[in-house]
């Protein structure tokens, strides 16, 4: 009885305290709004568009909070536009009255095309400090026509060979130190009954990626790129033919029926240990993790032989950037956000949340495999020529190369003819002079 009474009293007392608290807090809120005018209800709201659901999730899961804490007068909303035709959607969105403030854009040609449309603005003077970004990351953010920077680089994709550590160890193989050793290792793996190399040979873009991983250094890496973009060399150059020839050379070591292998199948073959090596991009680290694959793997850059025009390199390309919409209602605040997106705090948060390689230096990656790729990338980056420059016209250079390599594997063409065919294809639209400013 007494217990109940005391309970009733304490409840009543709690009620009094609660209403008091309510009055006080309301008063504080009113005074805050009336006084400073910097309360949350007056904060400027920025809208950011991205094609990636994962990116939007990462932003909601801490990145936005970090920014808003430092910039209390700005609210950020990240909207994933999960349309297959993100660029089409963007074209309409950026032209309309309800334009987003900042948009994620794919690098190189896509970005360049939006820059040409005038719906995004140059950031050279908006972002204060570009020094942390590598030259190759910035190349992906430039408008082709005026050479100005139109985006804050978002991330880098590197491409390398994934290898099954157990298969290698069982056969007494180490990471190969030269191309010849690479081929010898493949032979040894083949003799042991495992398929040495898997490439998603049904998908042109994936074949092109693999060809780049294997052949970038053989072609001459950065030197070839310069000569190519300067118009001094083209794809029929003997070094490029030799680079495509490497795809013919590995034919005996590929999984059976390689031209019917899809990306999923390639991932499965590698993750289940049925194929020992898999040339592919950074993103496979996340794929293998999500698969829950019980596999001990490492990565290496394709080694070179003595006498090749370049040392071993990390094939990489800029993977998108943040651009400022011309019709943004709040360009000043959007500029603040862009400066923050270009900084190390964001670099750390984003790269670790997304499992990607950051586009700038000074970032610490938690995942040791990604950290290795990041270090190799910083030491010896070389641009994936196809993804950076040959994909933004019709026909796409990477599609053409993929198809030609399929033909090589099917015995229908030679590396020299393949190189010529790709060059003829891109001649329709690719003008080296357009890139002289890089």
């Amino acid at each position: 009885m007494t217990a109940r009474r005391s309970l009733g009293r304490s409840t009543r007392r709690r009620g009094v305290i609660a209403s008091l608290a309510l009055v006080v807090s309301t008063a504080m809120l009113v005074s805050a709004c009336g006084g400073g005018g910097s309360g949350s209800s007056d904060a400027v709201r920025l809208t950011v568009w991205t094609w990636s659901n994962e990116a939007a999730a990462a932003f909601k899961d801490g990145i936005i909070d970090a920014f808003e804490k430092a910039h209390p007068d700005i609210e950020v909303e990240v909207v994933p536009q999960l349309d297959k035709n993100y660029e089409t959607l963007l074209t309409t969105g950026l032209a309309g009255s309800q334009s987003p403030d900042i948009v994620a854009l794919r690098s190189y040609g896509v970005l360049s095309s939006f820059a040409a449309s005038g719906n995004i603005v140059p950031l050279d003077d908006v972002v204060k400090d570009w020094s942390g970004f590598s030259k190759s990351a910035l190349a992906g953010a430039k408008g082709k026509a005026d050479g100005k920077l139109y985006a804050v680089p978002q991330g880098i994709q590197t491409a390398q060979v994934y290898y099954n550590k157990k298969v290698f160890a069982d056969l007494g193989l180490g990471v190969p130190g030269s191309w010849d050793e690479f081929v010898a290792a493949a032979q040894k793996i083949k003799d042991s009954g495992t398929a040495p190399i898997v490439i998603p040979g049904a998908v042109a873009a994936q074949i092109s990626l693999a060809a780049e991983i294997l052949g970038n250094a053989r072609r001459g890496a950065g030197d070839f790129q310069q000569a190519f973009l300067g118009g001094e060399k083209n794809l029929t150059d003997p070094d490029n033919v030799a680079a495509i020839g490497l795809m013919e050379q590995i034919k005996p070591f590929l999984v059976d029926n390689v031209t019917s292998v899809t990306l999923d199948e390639a991932v499965t073959l590698f993750a289940t240990g049925r194929a020992a090596m898999f040339p592919s991009g950074t993103w496979q680290v996340t794929t293998f993790k999500n698969l829950g694959a019980d596999i001990d793997y490492g990565t290496f850059d394709v080694p070179v032989n003595a006498g090749w025009p370049s040392k071993a390199v990390t094939v990489s390309y800029a993977d998108g950037g943040w651009a400022l919409a011309k019709r943004s209602q709040h360009p000043d605040q959007a500029g603040q956000l862009l400066n923050w997106l270009g900084g190390t705090e964001f670099g750390n948060l984003y790269a670790n949340a997304m499992g990607t390689i950051p586009a700038r230096d000074g970032v610490t990656l938690e995942n040791p495999l990604l950290s290795e790729m990041y270090q190799r990338y910083q030491a010896t980056p070389s641009v994936y020529l196809g993804a950076a420059y040959l994909r933004y016209g019709s026909p796409s250079g990477t599609d053409l190369l993929g198809q030609q390599v399929q033909k090589i594997w099917l015995g229908e063409t030679t590396p020299a003819d393949a190189a010529k065919s790709v060059q003829t294809g891109i001649d329709a639209w690719f003008k080296p002079a357009d890139f002289a400013k890089d």
Partner: protein, 312 residues
């Protein structure tokens, strides 16, 4: 005849304005929903564009000229077009013959034929994208049950790289397409067979006509309109086909362009290329495709009508 009809109805003819008023809502809807998108595509094809939808200027038929004079179109358009034609020819022959055969067989069954009609029509209800994906899995030489079964039966030489070999990829595409759509001709032929009065066959039997002769002289001529309809629809479907080739070979028509079709070419130019004038050139391609399909369908319709008149 026509004149008298008009005169007779003229007594109660509604005033022209009223007629127009009644037509107007439907026409407005038609204009906005159908006419405008079609005409705008034609319009787009006559302009040059830069970076998405920024208009540069009117350039007459230059986009069409590009299609016939420049890479990749001079190489890829004829190849894709031939593949479309091959798909049309293959589907036409297989769908009409198998479809008709099945429909005739089912027609002889009693009520139970409904069950089979439903069964044959089921794949028709599944999206071609799903069908394509499922068959990719089934036909995979690495993981698929088809080759596993062939190998288990000792038929290793038949366990081919179905979708990885240019010589088999297109035929497989045609077969899967027929597999998916076969229910449609079966239903149409079934309905048409049901509409043929049994007296005709009975009378012919009394006159001593054999089964084949009755089919050849009575059933087949009476089915001509339906065969024509199925053929024209097959033509339209084959020329527009996109989903199944995309599911099988991706946007590039893998392997090595062996399953490339016009819609994939359109897709690559318009959605994937990022080319500056993608809108203009792809609209030109779309316009050509539309005109060809329209022309083909009209021609087919005319041939069909001539055939019907000859028979009647």
């Amino acid at each position: 005849m026509a004149r008298t009809a008009r005169k007779a109805s003229g007594v109660q003819r509604a005033p022209a304005t009223a007629v127009l008023l009644f037509i107007l809502p439907a026409f407005a809807l038609f204009a906005v929903v159908l006419l405008y998108p079609m005409v705008s595509a034609l319009g787009y094809s006559l302009f040059e564009w830069r970076g998405g939808t920024n208009l540069v200027g009117f350039n007459w038929f230059h986009n069409f000229v590009v299609l016939f004079t420049e890479q990749p179109f001079v190489e890829q358009m004829p190849r894709a077009f031939l593949h479309n034609l091959a798909i049309f020819a293959g589907t036409l022959v297989l769908q009409n013959s198998i479809g008709l055969f099945l429909a005739v067989q089912l027609h002889r069954l009693g009520r139970i034929r409904r069950v089979f009609q439903v069964l044959y029509t089921t794949p028709y209800l599944v999206s071609p994208l799903v069908v394509g994906y499922l068959w990719t899995l089934l036909l995979s030489p690495t993981f698929g049950p088809v080759n596993a079964g062939l190998q288990a039966a000792g038929l290793d030489s038949l366990a081919l790289s179905w979708l990885g070999d240019p010589t088999t990829a297109l035929p497989v595409l045609i077969l899967v397409s027929v597999w998916q759509w076969i229910g449609f001709p079966v239903l149409l032929y079934g309905a048409a067979l049901g509409g043929i009065p049994p007296e005709l066959n009975d009378a012919a039997s009394v006159d001593g006509a054999t089964g084949w002769r009755r089919f050849r002289r009575i059933t087949l001529p009476l089915l001509t309109p339906v065969i024509g309809t199925v053929s024209i629809l097959t033509f339209i479907g084959a020329m527009e086909t996109f989903t199944l080739p995309y599911a099988f070979g991706g946007a590039t028509g893998s392997p090595a362009g062996a399953t490339d079709v016009l819609s994939l070419l359109f897709f690559r130019v318009s959605f994937e290329s990022g080319a500056s004038n993608a809108l203009g050139v792809s609209s030109a391609l779309a316009t050509l495709l539309f005109l060809f399909i329209l022309g083909g369908a009209l021609l087919g319709r005319r041939l069909l009508r001539a055939q019907e008149e000859r028979l009647s």
